[in-house]
């Protein structure tokens, strides 16, 4: 009897752990491509992209590589 009860508890715990998800950060870039079109030589142009934190944990930006 005790053995059956233990097995049921174990099964319930196992199912509960399957349903639990870890909090995770998620970055969303609504507009990730920008086209400047024509740009003159020997000039500096710039554009601002928006980065949004849409996960369920704090997002940390670790590094930006110019590419």
């Amino acid at each position: 009897m005790n053995g059956k009860r233990f097995a049921m508890c174990a099964a319930v715990l196992a199912l509960a752990s399957v349903g639990t998800s870890h909090a995770a950060p998620r970055m969303v870039i609504p507009e990730s491509t920008f086209d400047f079109g024509f740009v003159p030589q020997h000039s500096v142009v710039s554009h601002v992209f928006w980065l949004m934190s849409e996960g369920d944990d704090t997002l940390k930006i670790l590094n930006v590589n110019p590419g």
Binding site: S32, G37, H42, V44, S46, W50
Partner: protein, 175 residues
């Protein structure tokens, strides 16, 4: 660090230097989200001769609001010529916030010229700027769209104020 629901800006600066033709850059952003890293992408068509563009030609193509004296340089006019045989419509696509305002004609008839004007905001009088404005030109069918990015520069190199010369004192005993 960005709390859940927050957002931030990422400014990508592209120095065209002596590049010619199509160019693209794809900076990558690493976060605690883990791999794969995410990328943004910029595309440009770098031109040697600003007077060779189509369907419009912008003159001057680079807007310089640099200031070398106390006199505030707070606006710059430019001419837009429609060199096509169709009317064109102009819209602003991208512009930095809070630094300046851009006045553009809504449309230009074929072969005609119109003026545009960049006006520096008072809040930016004391700032050196190296930004840009992107405009989009569309034809009558709105199908063909061409973008143009105008670099906007402002350097502040004011000479240090020199005190006025002292008036020469008269020697004693002179009338």
């Amino acid at each position: 660090m960005l709390a859940v629901g927050d957002s931030t800006e990422l400014e990508i600066i592209f120095d065209t230097k002596a590049v010619k033709g199509k160019a693209s850059k794809s900076p990558s952003i690493s976060t605690n989200e883990g791999p794969p890293v995410k990328n943004v992408r910029i595309n440009a068509d770098v031109i040697e001769r600003p007077d060779s563009t189509y369907p419009i030609i912008i003159d001057p193509y680079k807007l310089d609001l640099s200031q070398f004296s106390e006199k505030v340089i707070d606006e710059k006019e430019f001419t837009i010529t429609n060199v096509s045989d169709q009317p064109v419509e102009l819209t602003i696509v991208s512009m930095p916030r809070g630094l300046f305002d851009l006045k553009l004609p809504d449309s230009i008839k074929p072969g005609k010229k119109a003026k545009g004007k960049l006006e520096l905001r008072k809040e930016a009088y004391t700032e050196s700027i190296e930004k840009s404005v992107t405009i989009e030109v569309s034809g009558p069918d709105s199908q063909t769209k061409t973008r143009f990015t105008l670099p906007v520069k402002r350097s502040l190199k004011m000479a240090e104020a020199t005190p006025p010369p002292k008036p020469q004192s008269k020697p004693k005993g002179t009338p």
